[in-house]
């Protein structure tokens, strides 16, 4: 066991740091979502040209071929340096890895490079109004039609849908098959008459997500990932990459939130209040335990190659600690904590989704019980 960076890891970190310092694009322009997105797209292009996208992707697919540890180091440096996230987050974290894992040679050639450069943005179309935790119950229907498929249905909680060129899309291709078997994984082109994107406003007042409505939207055969009817396994891979990709960055986010909370506590002169101290300590401990757990998982993944179900622990911890911290910050902030437009009230309300998005706490606990502890399946 050695938790220090190896020499080459340290060298890698220094390289990242220097490059980011010299090339930091400055703060993201605020207030105009479209401008913000174009800023991030330009920034991704710059990162890509310098070889800093797809850090842990194999070199043959345009990546840097770095280790998962180095990828985590890179993500941490981005977060610590307050560097804007690249525009094509979902393509980099999920879309690309899924194409690498399940795609054909042609798909790899077609899709990977524009993901890395940010030229083609990806979004994810999994959840439906009737299919939340029970993802395999999706109702979107794909029907064979010469040389491709026609898809009709609705998706919710699709981030970046209005900016995306492609959507990782799950649809039912065989209504008669058992529900996990009749699903196919498509790469859907968003810019076509059969696809309508509507913003989905949340309790925060913002419209961070979208709904998409499909009416006979078209997908050519070459945009099926994996086997027809074999989409469930591809979807699971996507979700495991999502959860694994979250780890290191999420920890940095939590640390930031805790730092802000500590600053607020000091500003209010409450640093010697034993109640406050106990809570702060719980957060400090929880976040550190989460960081260490993510590193343990990373070490294990580097041996096995496959992120395991214990990634669910990290998602659970993240939601739990973030909700508790933002709730406490809202309380400590007084009236500002419940006033529209303040950071404290926004984060507080936004965090209510943390125990739902990316797997509800209930589903995460089911996964841990069944797949990590081997308890009998819930009936």
């Amino acid at each position: 066991m050695d938790l220090s960076l190896t020499e080459s890891e340290a060298a890698f970190r220094d390289e990242v740091r220097i490059w980011l310092k010299e090339n930091h694009p400055g703060p993201v322009p605020e207030g105009d979502d479209a401008a913000e997105f174009e800023f991030r797209r330009a920034w991704q292009k710059e990162m890509h040209e310098a070889g800093w996208t797809g850090v842990s992707w194999p070199e043959e697919f345009g990546g840097r071929g770095a280790s998962l540890i180095e990828q985590a180091i890179f993500n941490e440096e981005l977060a610590y340096g307050s560097v804007p996230p690249p525009a094509n987050v979902l393509g980099l974290v999920m879309g690309g890895p899924v194409v690498i894992a399940h795609g054909t040679t042609e798909q790899k050639e077609r899709f990977l490079e524009p993901i890395l450069s940010g030229e083609e943005i990806w979004c994810q179309g999994f959840s439906e109004p009737e299919s939340g935790s029970d993802l395999a119950s999706i109702k979107s229907r794909a029907v064979k039609s010469n040389g491709g498929w026609k898809i009709t249905g609705q998706k919710v909680w699709t981030t970046y849908a209005h900016e995306a060129k492609y959507c990782m899309f799950l649809a039912r291709t065989d209504p008669d098959a058992p529900k996990h078997r009749g699903i196919t994984y498509f790469i859907l082109e968003m810019d076509q008459p059969g696809v309508e994107v509507r913003p989905l406003r949340q309790i925060t007042g913002e419209a961070e997500f979208n709904e998409i409505f499909l009416e006979e939207a078209q997908v050519p055969d070459e945009n099926v990932i994996g086997e027809v009817g074999g989409g469930w396994q591809v979807a699971i891979t996507t979700l495991m990459f999502e959860r694994a990709g979250l780890g290191a960055v999420a920890v940095v986010g939590l640390r930031r939130t805790l730092e802000d909370l500590i600053a607020l506590v000091r500003e209010k002169g409450l640093e010697s209040d034993p109640l406050i101290r106990q809570r702060i300590a719980e957060f400090q401990i929880g976040i550190e335990a989460m960081r260490l757990g993510a590193l343990r998982t990373l070490t294990a993944t580097m041996k096995t190659g496959i992120p395991g179900p214990e990634g669910s622990l990290g998602k659970w911890q993240w939601g739990k600690y973030n909700q508790a911290m933002t709730e406490m910050a809202s309380e400590v902030a007084g009236p500002a904590g419940v006033t529209v437009g303040t950071d404290a009230s926004y984060r507080f309300l936004r965090s209510r989704a943390n125990s739902i998005e990316g797997g509800t706490t209930e589903v995460l606990q089911n996964i841990i019980a069944e797949r990590v502890l081997g308890l009998p399946k819930l009936r």
């Binding site: 939340g132 309790i203 034993p274 007084g334 009236p335 419940v338 006033t339 437009g341 989704a353 739902i356």
Partner: protein, 346 residues
């Protein structure tokens, strides 16, 4: 001993429930919340029914009933999440009744009771938990008169005399403001009793908020299916709902008791009010937040109505201090003596 509403109290509750169900349907609540407005004609109807002055003596132009009667009304107002001036006005009237001079009572109580004027309340300074802190004053931007709690007791101020700034709270079903300094005329009576009675009124509203959120969650849990079963048949959901019931019922028991004590056994009021202030605030917030988890993603959308109860529970539960501050007061009254700090908001 009979811990149940009298027939008259049940009738008042039933009338209020029906009134709210008819006038403050969720789409009406949404319309008013999105406009951040009150419907004055609806408030006039409430005033017609004598609600703002239900606990004001007949001599002062009210109905001469008690705090239990006001509590059941406000429980239903919370249940409906009704945007209205009722809490600010009835709440101010409670304090003026307890603490106001004969002149102050004569000037304001008849007008508040009749609906001719509306009221507001809030606290500033140590009474708000900090040096220069102002709580969010309930209903102040629309009010004619405000009760201002400060370190020494309570002041009564025509709204125009207050230097206030309207605040858009996350709770859009009510208007709020902060003030920059205490102002107004000192009320000579028992401001503590007034504050305690007001606390019970707020708790009653919170009880209703929790009750409704629980009912919404239970109804959804009966109908929503995942993995081919109603989600309410999963213990992760059903035990969550059982915990909501525990919180709401604790809140209700403590509310009715405190309301009864306020009129019948005033020596029990300070502890009863502190207890219910803490419990009702926590129960309402925990219940609405837990209901959001039952709803999942749909509960997080703007188009879903739950948000109004959720946000109102959070803000209403902090009008006279945080649950932590109320608990510190409970500890004091339960035999531990005064705390070293004002109580922490953790």
């Amino acid at each position: 001993m009979n811990f149940d509403l009298t027939d008259e109290q049940s009738e008042i509750k039933g009338t209020a429930k029906q009134f709210m169900a008819d006038r403050f349907k969720p789409e009406k609540v949404r319309e008013l919340a999105e406009a951040r407005a009150y419907d004055d004609s609806l408030y006039a109807q409430m005033a017609e029914l004598g609600w703002p002055g239900i606990a004001v003596s007949e001599d002062d132009g009210g109905q001469g009933l008690g705090l239990v009667e006001l509590a059941v009304l406000l429980e239903e107002a919370g249940y409906a999440c009704a945007p209205s001036q009722l809490l600010g006005s009835a709440g101010a009237a409670l304090v003026i009744t307890a603490a106001g001079s004969p002149e102050q009572r004569a000037e304001w109580l008849p007008r508040l009771a009749s609906g001719e004027a509306t009221g507001a309340f809030g606290a500033i300074g140590p009474a708000a938990g900090g040096e220069d802190e102002s709580t969010l004053f309930c209903d102040l931007p629309t009010a004619d008169v405000a009760v201002v709690f400060d370190a020494e007791g309570a002041l009564l101020a025509p709204a125009g005399e207050l230097d206030f700034e309207a605040v858009e709270a996350i709770d859009a079903t009510r208007s709020y403001a902060t003030i920059s300094a205490p102002a107004g005329e000192r009320m000579p009576g028992d401001a503590g009793a007034g504050r305690d009675r007001l606390a019970v009124a707020i708790a009653a509203e919170l009880t209703g908020i929790g009750q409704r959120a629980m009912e919404m969650a239970v109804e959804y849990a009966r109908e929503r299916k995942q993995f081919d079963r109603a989600i309410g048949s999963y213990q992760a959901v059903s035990h969550r709902c059982a915990a909501m019931l525990l919180g709401v019922e604790e809140s209700r028991s403590l509310t009715y008791y405190a309301a009864w004590a306020a009129d019948a056994e005033p020596e029990s009021l300070p502890l009863a009010a502190a207890m219910v202030s803490a419990r009702a605030a926590d129960a309402a917030w925990e219940t609405t937040a837990s209901a959001l988890q039952v709803f999942g993603g749909i509960g997080f959308t703007w188009e879903h109505d739950l948000q109004f109860w959720l946000k109102r529970s959070r803000v209403a539960g902090r009008m006279l201090g945080t649950p932590g501050e109320h608990r510190d007061r409970v500890a004091e009254l339960a035999g531990l003596g005064a705390g070293s700090a004002a109580g922490a908001p953790a």
